[in-house]
Amino acid sequence: MTRIIQLVLSPLIALVVGVLLLGLSRKIIARIHRRYGPPIYQPVIDVIRMMSQRSISHGSLFDLGVVFALAGSLVTVMFIPLGGTQACQPFAHGVLCPLSSSGGLLVVMYLMLLGPLGLALGAGDSANPNASIGVSRKLLLALAYEVPFLLVILAVMSHYETISLTEIVARQQQAGWGALSVPLSAVAAFLILPAMLGVRPFDLVSAPQEIASGPMAEYGGRSLALIKLYGATHLFLVIALFVDLFLGGGVNLATFLLKMLIVFMAVEMINAVLPRVKIEDAIKFCWKWPAGLALLQMAITVLSKSG
């Protein structure tokens, strides 16, 4: 029974928190820009509005791609521990992670693919050059940040010698945060967070002024609503993962969300002040600094393990 509650709860948390974070994001940026900004629940209003609008469709894949993207990211959430320890007992293993025994970090990494891929396939089905360019950028950007990201994850997995995410969290709660054990990886991961989230300076995928929101160019109505929700879930997912990998997860949901909020604020600071970069520069940046740091950390980890 607790399992089923978890299964419903964890995607729901992701959606709600994600949407609120989106709203918060606009608020924070507005404040930094010395504007008042929309209310924090503005994304909810947006979704309701879009759901009530009738839109166009370019084909079945055009519609289904978005569904797959959202489904993929929601399923991913179920593999991520959202706080809790072995000690507290509301859930089976003490951790809010309904599918922890069905797959570890490798599954999470792969499931995170489904979102961009679904969106890319859907967007590709429209014959809009903006969409294609946006997808092309998205995939290249993914390649750019995945290299350091993979290095980061491998360093963490090597350090803790497990591929289970719950295990990694548990080990951190016993022996200190990942940010202290693998500090360079944590820095690298933080550096690529904006790229993973698609915010400035790496918001070149949607780039509304440039390529008319890229993959979203043709979307409207309920599909756009789903994309919005996908974006929210993805935002939640990435930050949650960061918290799990480096900040020791959370002893309970509240601390977990608090840590997420802090990380999110930090990312938003960057988002608010930096301009957009070109895709080449994005690739160069990702493959230089974060990748370099992560590589260094991985080398240190491997050497310390073998030595």
Binding site: G59, S102, L121, S132, L150, E218
Partner: protein, 617 residues
């Protein structure tokens, strides 16, 4: 049904289909399909049998042995299945072209020879079937003429080179142990010491490496795969290059054995470690080259090399999970690469031979089934969860990480992200986006082409959700090769290997999907509009080419394109050019003047006498 019966059916089938083709084309087609299906059935019912018997006593003083065991069965069923699908696909593909008879004969012969390879119980039969496969494949690669001829020559020259190395290796074994029967060799080689196994392995590695296109021996593959007829590209990429993999597994674990293997090479650089790193390189470079290709089949060809890298890497790690992953990935790659080549073949067939990714587009509207299958194949290639590719890659990553090879794991993972890029490029440029006007009335591919695609797609999804089916076989094989058997549940792995349960994943995904679809149902259905009715910033969308395909990954190409030329190929080509120059120079000794020739005679005589007086002879 014994292995012998299977082989007789296969070879006789090839011959008979040629004979039948002389009388009736239709009869031959039916017969070819019947034989292929029959082979699949025959092999399927031999599951679980283990036998070894001499089928040809005293061939040049050696007994030729056939053997059926778990490993052989696994490869045999893969070979026969992909072979069968490609024969079915060929029905329409070659109908009306010339040399149909030859085509079917050669295709069935290649398949038969491959069955022979995997069912061989001694290295001589292995070599014989290997050679038959090589030359038959050469004929088929050359089938389409034009550039295919050069591709065929390149393939066969490298292949002969590899065969020579193999011949040396296996006869070196024979000279030492006086037998070529694999089971006997495995018994006797245990006592081997020193550099002996290393030399044997190196020579074998050259032969197998060329066939399975391990970098730097890969250069034949992009040309051959892209120029061969598509059904045969599926065979080439799906199973023929896997024969190299089979060879590696057979020699490394079946003959030399795990214990000895781990000692082969210098203490600081083991043979299998080198293989691992070659595998890693073979993943990385071809993947990045693949995403710059504009020819659909060439893209897939480079991708094949990349996937071979995974398998080699997994074999080289020499762990039971790694080997299981390698075997599973072999099966998966056979299925999804066959699917993708056949899908491209279907497109090529319908569009009159267009494989240029920049000239296609929007075909999802005309060929939805082909697209759906290609999508599944592409997802399998990437290794998206719920496809079989995920489970095999998961096994490989898992073993790499837990065995402490994060750098190798990095190569493998980066390769996967590269795969996303090229798979998307392939699918997008062919099927998505704007449909060119000339294809507006294209019909869907005939059923005989769709059926193999659907079967492959079904297998990919089935094994993705229930990986226990193939893994139960693979686990057993791993056990017979000297490893701890891999125990898998029907839906993944228990806690002792690692958390993976694909069925839960599938259920969760299906549930979430249902919820989303239901949620989506609240809103009004969108209005279907034509493709031209798209956002063009206020201007009318032009009727000509509108969507973006050309140089799809241009930024990356500009950054890396310079480094990603096939240096190895260029090196080989320049070496071949130099060699030609040398050959032409050697030719000049025959000057045409008879007096020079007389001088040669006198010179040899003088040399002989001189050498004798000098005490050399």
């Amino acid at each position: 049904m014994s292995a012998q019966g299977i082989l007789i059916t296969a070879f006789a089938g090839a011959g008979l289909s040629y004979a039948l083709g002389l009388t009736s084309a239709r009869l031959r087609e039916v017969f070819a399909i019947v034989v292929s299906v029959l082979l699949v059935c025959l092999i399927a019912i031999t599951h679980g049998q283990g036998a070894e018997h001499v089928y040809y006593p005293d061939f040049l003083g050696l007994d030729l042995v056939l053997r059926m065991d778990a490993l052989a069965w696994f490869f045999a069923i893969t070979v026969s299945m992909v072979g069968c699908l490609s024969v079915i696909f060929s029905l329409h593909y070659v109908r009306g072209k010339e040399k149909e008879n030859f085509y079917y004969f050669a295709l069935l012969l290649v398949n038969a020879a491959m069955l022979g390879i995997v069912l061989s119980g001694d290295l001589l039969s292995f070599f014989i079937f290997w050679e038959i496969m090589s030359w038959a494949a050469f004929l088929l690669i050359s089938y389409k003429r034009g550039r295919a001829l050069d591709a065929g020559l390149k393939y066969v020259i490298m292949s002969i080179l590899g065969s020579c190395a193999m011949l040396l290796a296996l006869l070196y074994l024979y000279a030492n142990y006086n037998t070529l029967v694999i089971s006997d060799l495995a018994q006797q080689i245990r006592s081997a010491a020193g550099g002996f196994p290393l030399w044997v392995m190196l020579a074998f590695a050259l032969g197998f490496g060329i066939k399975c296109a391990l970098i730097p021996l890969h250069t034949w593959l992009p040309d051959a795969h892209s120029e061969a007829p598509s059904p045969f590209s599926a065979v080439l990429s799906g199973i023929l290059i896997k024969m190299g993999i089979y060879g590696f597994i057979l020699v490394m674990y079946g003959v030399v054995g795990l214990k000895l293997l781990l000692e082969v090479g210098a203490p600081w650089l083991h043979f299998h470690t080198v293989l691992c790193w070659l595998g890693a390189i073979t993943i990385l470079i071809p993947t990045f080259i693949a995403l710059l290709q504009d020819d659909a089949k060439r893209l897939l060809a480079w991708s094949s090399i990349g996937q071979i890298g995974y398998i080699m890497l997994a074999i080289g790690v020499a762990t039971s999970l790694g080997l299981a992953g390698a075997l599973f990935h072999t099966l998966n790659h056979a299925v999804f690469k066959a699917l993708l080549f056949l899908a491209v073949g279907a497109v090529e067939y319908k569009t009159g031979g267009v494989r240029d990714l920049n000239r296609l587009g929007g075909l999802i509207r005309r060929m939805p089934v082909t697209f759906a299958c290609a999508l599944i194949g592409g997802l399998g290639l990437i290794g998206v969860p719920l496809t079989s590719g995920f489970v095999s890659k998961w096994l490989i990553y898992k073993t790499l990480i837990t065995e402490g090879h994060p750098f190798l794991a990095l190569a493998a993972l980066v390769g996967t992200w590269g795969a996303i890029l090229y798979v998307y490029k392939l699918l997008h440029n062919m099927f998505l986006g704007q449909l060119p006007e000339k294809y507006a009335n294209l019909e869907a591919a005939p059923f005989s082409m769709q059926l193999p695609l659907m079967i492959c797609g079904f297998i990919i999804v089935l094994f993705g959700i229930l990986p226990g089916i193939p893994l139960s076989v693979i686990g057993g094989i791993v056990g017979t090769l000297g490893f701890e058997p891999v125990t898998a549940t029907l839906t993944g792995f228990g806690p002792q290997i690692g958390p993976l349960n694909t069925l839960n994943l599938c259920a969760a995904f299906a549930g979430v999907l249902l919820v989303i679809v239901a949620f989506r149902g609240i809103a009004a259905r969108p209005k279907p509009v034509s493709q031209d009715d798209s956002y063009a910033a206020g201007a009318a969308a032009p009727a000509g080419k509108y969507h973006h395909t050309v140089r799809f990954y241009d930024p990356l190409e500009r950054m890396t394109g310079g480094y990603l030329r096939d240096w190895v190929d260029q090196f080989y080509l320049s070496a071949a050019g130099k060699a030609k120059g040398v050959f032409n120079g050697v030719r000049r000794i025959y000057t045409g003047d008879v007096r020079t020739y007389v001088m040669y005679i006198v010179a040899l005589l003088t040399f002989l006498i001189f050498a004798h007086t000098a005490g050399w002879l």
